[in-house]
């Protein structure tokens, strides 16, 4: 029976803080995430190279070197705990045995560190959603579906502590929706398609996790919200459109938790701020220390409420000091050390630091503004007051647009003339969204290209 979130787990903005979650997640080794401390979560990836049977020895060597280097640096800096996210590359999910082999390699190194240095660690494994290799995507059957779930199983057996995914149900129409500025198509992709697929997918992932005693952690809307953020940074779409999409991803990502995910939610899911407010689960986030992976306008404000602090991902290339993953590890350790020191000094100090993180970004970009704890709590409250994923996504759109307008009036943000033109255009589109889900689906059907999306994969 799916859980239904109808009230916020965090109600007071002063209780919405980094390192502390109402429902912390404890690992078998005793590491507790969300129990008072923020831990680094390091993610690393291969340099430019192919993955095939001939290169697999080099792939193994690369991962062995990266995990060796980052664990060494963690010990040198006396880290008392950290998480490693192993986000598979598509070839490693397409060949699940390869994906599991690397998981085992990482597990063994982390176990060695625990034994030799008494540092508690966590291994998050994130297989890819390879179902989109079929076009239109086949989401519920076929070789890619089988291989993806087999990859989850093998990685769980190989030593993952947490399993996560960036699932892509609905993305086949959402990419076009982003670049066309098509709000209805975006709502359809997230509130109808994505949410239905998440229900199917997370029932299965949670079942695998139960079978192997692994923690189902969460599902990032990266392919939706972060695609929009990156396009906004390139000035391809308005920032206000990217911010709106971010808020609209919340109901879709919440479905994972309704089906049994418990956190920590994935780093690139900036909607995690809302997920933490609603579910009380711990979350990972990324910002300033993720500049190695992408530009973002939320470098500091993302530090306001995370329980794991991540670098997104970094390629294994040599820098002046050391390898890039090692440098990233050092940066994450120092960033989290500051947050934890503030918390050690008491809640007042922690809140003071949190507010500096918030104030240094929130007025600069509407995408940062929506991560303000007070804004996230207000919008989250309005979203979960609605009963279904569609109505929640519709409410997310209406409430966020209203929030942007009020923030502009109060001069809490400064929207340019062009962005204001878009605020009006998006509001006109949002006002057309019917309150009947059936009516909305009927409206959207004729606009969909059957070569791109197969509605039967969504029970439609």
């Amino acid at each position: 029976m799916a859980k239904k979130y109808q009230e916020l787990a965090i109600k007071d903005p002063t209780d919405f803080l980094f390192g502390v979650s109402p429902y912390p997640v404890s690992l078998k080794n005793g590491l507790t995430i969300g129990g008072g401390k923020v831990y680094p979560e390091i993610n690393f990836t291969l340099p430019g190279m192919g993955i095939n049977p001939e290169t697999m020895p080099e792939v193994r060597d690369q991962y062995a070197q990266m995990i060796g280097d980052v664990t060494k640096r963690a010990a040198e800096l006396h880290a008392d705990g950290f998480s490693v996210e192993y986000e598979l590359l598509p070839d490693l999910t397409l060949n699940p045995e390869w994906g599991a082999e690397i998981t085992k390699l990482l597990r063994e190194k982390l176990d060695g560190l625990a034994q030799n240095e008494a540092i508690k660690t966590c291994l998050r494994v994130t297989p890819n959603d390879i179902r989109e290799f079929s076009r239109p995507p086949l989401l519920r059957h076929g070789k890619f579906v089988d291989d993806m779930f087999r990859c989850f199983e093998l990685c769980a057996q190989a030593g993952a502590d947490l399993l996560a995914i960036e699932s892509t149900g609905g993305k086949e129409i959402h990419d076009d929706a982003i670049i066309k500025g098509d709000l209805a198509a975006s709502v359809f992709a997230l509130g109808i398609l994505g949410s239905r697929d998440m229900k199917f997918l997370w029932e299965k992932i949670v079942s695998i996790c139960k079978r192997y005693d692994v923690i189902p952690s969460g599902d990032s809307a990266c392919g939706f919200g972060n695609t929009a953020m990156v396009l906004a940074e390139q000035h391809y779409i308005p920032r206000i459109w990217a911010a709106l999409i971010r808020v609209m991803t919340v109901p879709r990502s919440l479905v994972a938790f309704e089906e049994g995910a418990v956190g920590p939610n994935k780093d690139c899911a900036y909607e995690g701020v809302y997920i933490k407010a609603i579910t009380g689960a711990p979350i990972a986030l990324e910002g300033a220390e993720a500049a190695c992976a992408h530009l973002s306008p939320i470098g500091n404000i993302a530090k306001a409420v995370p329980d794991l602090w991540s670098n997104e991902s970094v390629q294994n290339v040599k820098l002046l000091a050391a390898s890039a993953p090692t440098v990233s590890m050092e940066q994450l350790i120092y960033a989290t050390r500051l947050m934890n020191k503030a918390a050690d000094k008491g809640k007042g100090s922690a809140l003071a630091l949190r507010d500096l993180f918030i104030d240094s970004d929130s007025a600069g970009d509407v995408q940062a503004y929506i991560l303000r704890p007070d804004v996230a709590l207000d919008l989250s409250r309005q979203i979960i007051a609605e009963p279904t994923a569609y109505l929640r996504t519709r409410k997310a759109a209406l409430a966020a647009l209203d929030c942007f307008r009020k923030a502009q009036e109060k001069r809490e943000i400064t929207l340019s003339r062009v962005e204001l033109r878009w605020l009006d255009a998006l509001s006109r589109q949002a006002d057309q969204l019917p309150d009947s889900e059936e009516e909305f689906i009927a409206q959207m059907r004729p606009t969909l290209d059957p070569a791109k999306v197969n509605l039967s994969e969504y029970d439609l």
């Binding site: 430019g48 670049i179 391809y236 878009w422």
Partner: protein
């Protein structure tokens, strides 16, 4: 500028598809040369749209609406262009390499090339080298545009270029590449003719290579 040409220009800039088609027909009825309608009415309008984009006044959604208006106008104009034997700026085969499903960047490049009156043959994503080769042969393309967004797939671009060479087509086409993990040095190292850091610069690159 002629009144109808000015109306075509304005309708493309403002993305008024039905108005573009109507005004193109009126211009043809008035006896204006098809190539003049194409270049002075529509291509120049898309150049203005590009300028508005560069200035931050337009975003991609507005460019797409303008591009759609141009396509509506072209559908009316095509028979007259064929009759006058007016050729497109060039033919471009575009696709994302095998193993890679990212297509937003590729789609943006394709859209901007069409706005500059290139004929674009879009092969989609996860495209094996032999499909690029086949498309060059079938369409007589002058340019091949290859996209990749992953560090593990960018090297597959070299395979595409090798396949084009092996098919004896390398002298016939210019090859341009793009995608987040790429660089100009990488493009040169795999034997491409050019690299574009973003979609808006790809048009100028394509034009310069076939000038």
């Amino acid at each position: 500028m002629n009144k109808n040409l000015a109306a075509i220009y304005q309708s493309v800039v403002e993305g008024e598809s039905s108005q573009t088609a109507k005004k193109v027909q009126e211009a043809l009825d008035e006896g204006i040369n098809a190539e003049v309608i194409l270049n002075e009415g529509m291509v120049s309008a898309m150049s203005e749209v590009g300028r508005l984009f560069e200035q931050g006044e337009y975003f991609v959604p507005e460019m797409l609406i303008s591009a759609r208006a141009m396509q509506e106008g072209l559908s009316v104009l095509k028979p007259a262009l064929a009759k006058a034997e007016v050729r497109s700026t060039g033919k471009v085969v575009i696709g994302t390499v095998n193993g890679d499903l990212h297509d937003i960047g590729k789609n943006l490049v394709g859209m901007m090339l069409e706005g500059a009156a290139f004929e674009v043959i879009d092969l989609g994503t996860d495209v094996p080298p032999e499909r690029f080769v086949e498309a060059i042969k079938t369409n007589g393309a002058q340019i091949v545009a290859i996209s990749a967004l992953l560090t593990t797939t960018m090297n597959n671009m070299k395979g595409v270029i090798q396949a084009i060479c092996a098919a004896g087509l390398r002298k016939n086409v210019k090859i341009i590449v793009g995608g987040a993990p790429l660089s100009a040095d990488f493009a040169q190292s795999i034997g491409a003719d050019g690299y574009s850091a973003d979609a808006s610069k790809a048009v100028a690159l394509a034009k310069s290579l076939i000038a």
